[in-house]
């Protein structure tokens, strides 16, 4: 690891960059497995947008490849939500709904701010608006589709709910009104879920372990295996260029 001095903004760039990098990786795992060909193209578009954002953000904090491939699990500060395995399509869509709504609201605020993230956020917010729309469209169809899809979507929304509170923990260097962000997020997600004939989950959304955990480098078990796969080739050839 290069000894990049960890400034406040590097912390924030890493947090946002890791979110985008990890979610992009998870979406990339869908390639060749999507429920319909049109969705292969859609999921890959979202993954590519996120990877593009990740590369800009990581480059603000250091060398993108060193940061992606040579950090240990505990040094990643992404939300636990984005590292959750794809599960079935309903889980992927629920994860997309929760995250893209958050990302869209956050980037909209950053784009309008004086923050050094404003230029990136200004470009990314358009991409993310589409991700959010994609997630909402599918939430409506799965929630209000068949009995089977309703049940799967309900379960997915419940299962991932406990990872959502973390999004509203403070991140050093990100100067946004967290309370307002949380309120807008909750309103928006609840509205989509209701329109999808689903009730917003009622369980705790900040479990004792999960509260702020990803941002502090505490992750869930599947994340280690994800990183092992992602980093193995790069790490097997120290110093090589690709």
């Amino acid at each position: 690891m290069t000894a990049t001095p960890v400034t406040v903004s590097a912390t924030a760039a890493l947090a946002l960059g890791d979110d985008a990098l990890v979610l992009s990786h998870r979406l990339g795992e869908w390639a060749g497995h999507a429920p319909v060909l049109e969705e292969e193209v859609a999921l890959a578009n979202i993954a590519l947008d996120l990877l593009g954002q990740a590369r800009v953000l990581l480059s603000m904090a250091g060398d993108e490849d060193e940061l992606a491939y040579l950090r240990e699990e505990r040094a990643f500060t992404n939300l636990q939500l984005v590292e959750q395995p794809n599960g079935d399509f309903a889980h992927t869509i629920a994860r997309q709904l929760y995250f893209s709504t958050y990302q869209h609201l956050l980037y909209g605020r950053l784009a309008a701010s004086e923050s050094e993230f404003a230029p990136l956020a200004g470009k990314a917010v358009k991409e993310v608006a589409y991700h959010r729309d994609h997630a909402e469209q599918w939430t409506l169809r799965l929630g209000d589709g068949t009995d089977v899809s309703h049940e799967r979507m309900r379960r997915a929304c419940e299962a991932l709910w406990r990872f959502t509170g973390e999004m509203f923990q403070p991140v050093a260097g990100l100067d946004v009104d967290r309370a307002a962000l949380e309120r807008d997020w909750l309103d928006s997600v609840s509205d989509v879920l209701r329109r999808a004939t689903l009730a917003p989950p009622e369980g705790p959304w900040t479990g004792a372990w999960s509260a702020g955990a990803g941002r502090q480098g505490l992750h869930t078990e599947p994340f280690g295996r994800m990183l092992a796969e992602m980093q193995h080739l790069h790490r097997s050839h120290p110093g090589a260029t690709w």
Partner: protein, 344 residues
């Protein structure tokens, strides 16, 4: 499949099945004349049944190859060794899904549904290119596929842009335009490896050793053993023979391999001054037919994954269809027509 058939009938005004044919000979003559004059045949034109069947078979096989072909490369998306390479690979695999869609869409103009074609793929009644039954064992295979497999595909596909059937030709124009980056990224990837560490160089050479011969087989059996070639050439579905295209490909690859600093695994490969082309060694057609029959290293794996994705996606497709049916009434009249104010 009753629903697919019903849908086809509903779509008849646009594409339609051939009309009753009171004057077959005249129509045959008109068709032959159009093909001879290098005019394009369009979906609703009368065409011989065998021409239609040949196109369906070929376009479907081509579409299947695109979507099965996603698998060997997608195998490396999660392990791509740099973020730049990862983005390129994801975009490329995505393009292959897109190309599959363009091609299914072209096939559907002939009166078959995508469901029907996928069903035939899943049940093994229609084929895809045998090349995708070989495994991608190392990262260098991603480069070898780009350089050799896409290179061979492009050599095959460029003439298809002038194919006599309009929708197929138009799909191929789009595919070829988009694929131009596929081959270049593969070449660049191999070049980086070849000029990299000795381990990387060895990885690149090993990949080329494994992919060279299967790539040559992609042009199909030799002309004297190719059962469909002559008729397809007469119909201008095909513009050059298998052996012609294979020779063209070899001649293109030899100097490219030299620039890469890699060796093509054929001791008989040498320039023939007299004929102005390269001579090359004998292809192992036993292997070709064996892989085609289903005995390649990955035939079972590729089809199993494809079937699983399709089966596991069934509830999603059903949900969306059910949602659309429930909400059909609500949507009616909601949208402004094309000449009015446009939707986003």
């Amino acid at each position: 499949m009753a629903t697919a058939a019903a849908h086809r009938t509903a779509g008849a005004p646009a594409y339609g099945a051939p009309h009753a044919d009171p004057d077959g000979d005249a129509r045959q003559r008109a068709f032959d004349a159009a093909v001879a004059a290098d005019e394009r045949v369009e979906p609703r034109d009368w065409m011989p049944d065998a021409y239609r069947a040949t196109l369906v078979r070929q376009i479907a096989q081509h579409a299947h190859s695109e979507i099965i072909g996603m698998q060997p490369e997608a195998n490396w998306i999660t392990r791509a060794p740099s973020l730049r390479r990862k983005a390129i690979l994801m975009a490329k695999v995505q393009d292959e899904a897109g190309h599959g869609l363009y091609l299914y869409s072209a096939a559907e103009t002939l009166g078959v549904s995508r469901d029907e074609l996928l069903d035939k793929l899943h049940s093994g009644r229609q084929k895809y290119s045998s090349i995708f039954n070989y495994p991608t064992l190392t990262w260098a295979d991603v480069g070898a596929i780009g350089w050799l497999v896409d290179g061979a595909a492009i050599t095959n596909q460029v003439p298809l842009c002038r194919c006599s059937y309009g929708p197929y030709a138009r799909a191929m124009v789009r595919v070829c335009k988009e694929e131009s980056f596929h081959q270049r990224q593969g070449y660049e990837l191999l070049l980086a490896l070849s000029r990299g560490t000795s381990e990387q160089h060895a990885m690149a050479q090993d990949a080329v050793d494994r992919w060279w011969w299967p790539s040559l087989m992609m042009f199909g059996p030799p002309d004297d053993a190719s059962q469909h070639s002559a008729q397809s050439m007469a119909w201008k579905i095909k513009r050059h023979s298998n052996d012609e295209l294979r020779q063209r490909f070899v001649d293109i690859c030899v100097p490219q391999a030299e620039s890469l600093g890699l060796t093509l695994p054929d001791p008989d490969l040498k320039w023939n001054e007299e004929h102005g082309r390269h001579d090359f060694g004998a292809i192992d057609w036993t292997e070709f037919w064996d892989v085609l029959k289903g005995n390649g290293p990955c035939n079972e794996q590729r089809l199993t994954q494809r079937r699983r994705a399709h089966d596991e996606g069934a509830w999603v497709r059903e949900a969306a269809a059910a949602h659309a049916a429930k909400h059909a009434a609500k949507h009616t009249g909601k949208h402004t027509g094309p000449t009015g104010v446009e939707q986003a």
